[in-house]
């Protein structure tokens, strides 16, 4: 079923990056390390986007997520510096949280994903279509009055509000 070719290999590499990076974020004591692991995970995600024929998304992931957000996080770590290395990194409920996360994963995978889309699932026969939409189509969709212009405008409002809010919250009170 699974052909062993280049795309599969690439997939596995980026999958490992994603998951491994994620683990690293959650486990690292040093928050700078955590931020760097986050960058790794995001990078893995970008790779997976490329494999999923959404190159624009990958670019946005790198530019926005890694370039802006991850950097922002590093700034925040810097600004809250004195607290990073001293104490416990996990709180009192880490055990239960682990259990919850594992069970959640189990349920999701075994209960939802595999029965439907797994090899023996109900919709296992997925014919992968060759023709996909392009970036132009995305651009048109975002401004087309019949499509997604409204969410687009709302999103921009959201960004404006978030920007203003962040400035207001984070600034020094004289």
């Amino acid at each position: 079923m699974l052909e062993l070719n280049v795309s599969t290999l690439v997939f596995f590499i980026f999958a490992v990056l994603s998951i491994g990076g994620a683990l690293g974020v959650v486990i690292s004591r040093n928050l700078i390390h955590g931020a760097l692991f986050l960058i790794v995970s995001l990078f893995g995600g970008a790779g997976l986007f490329v494999l999923l024929a959404a190159p624009f998304m990958a670019a946005v992931q790198v530019l926005v997520y890694i370039g802006a957000i991850a950097i922002l996080i590093i700034f925040a770590v810097m600004l809250t510096r004195s607290m990073t290395n001293i104490r416990e990194i996990f709180n009192r409920q880490w055990w239960i949280s682990a259990v919850a996360a594992v069970i959640l994963l189990a349920v999701l995978v075994v209960g939802v994903v595999l029965p439907i889309w797994g090899p023996n699932g109900t919709q296992s026969e997925m014919v992968l279509s060759e023709t996909t939409a392009t970036v132009q189509d995305l651009g048109v969709a975002l401004v087309d009055g019949n499509q997604y212009v409204l969410p687009f405008e709302v999103a921009s409002l959201l960004l404006t509000a978030a920007m203003v809010g962040a400035i207001v919250i984070a600034r020094d009170n004289e």
Partner: protein, 102 residues
């Protein structure tokens, strides 16, 4: 091509790791990073379904784009709050922020 379910499993794994991080980390910034992981996992999920189910329909990508926006806004505001809280309480340990304690 890799079957859909593998992408879904990856996304689920990253999501659950993000969940663990949100629930178990003490540092607020670490929690925010875990939230970014969760959002990233959602994006992977969305785009995987887009590609395999309806690649002609832009809904998937558009949705993913909006998720990016929201993630960005939320990260900005969240970190602003963390900094503000840090300024007031000298602490970014979320356990210490329990003024709503009943």
């Amino acid at each position: 091509m890799v079957p859909l379910w593998m992408y879904l499993v990856v996304s689920a794994a990253v999501f659950c790791i993000g969940v663990y991080g949100v629930l178990a980390r003490r540092n607020a910034v670490a929690i925010l990073m875990s939230v970014e992981l969760m959002l990233n996992a959602v994006n992977i999920n969305l785009l995987a379904f887009w590609r395999y189910v309806a690649p002609q329909n832009m809904a998937g990508q558009a949705f993913a784009a909006f998720v990016f926006v929201v993630a960005a806004a939320e990260a900005a505001v969240g970190l602003a709050i963390v900094i503000a809280v840090y300024r007031n309480r000298r602490s970014v340990i979320v356990e210490d922020v329990n003024l709503l304690r009943g």
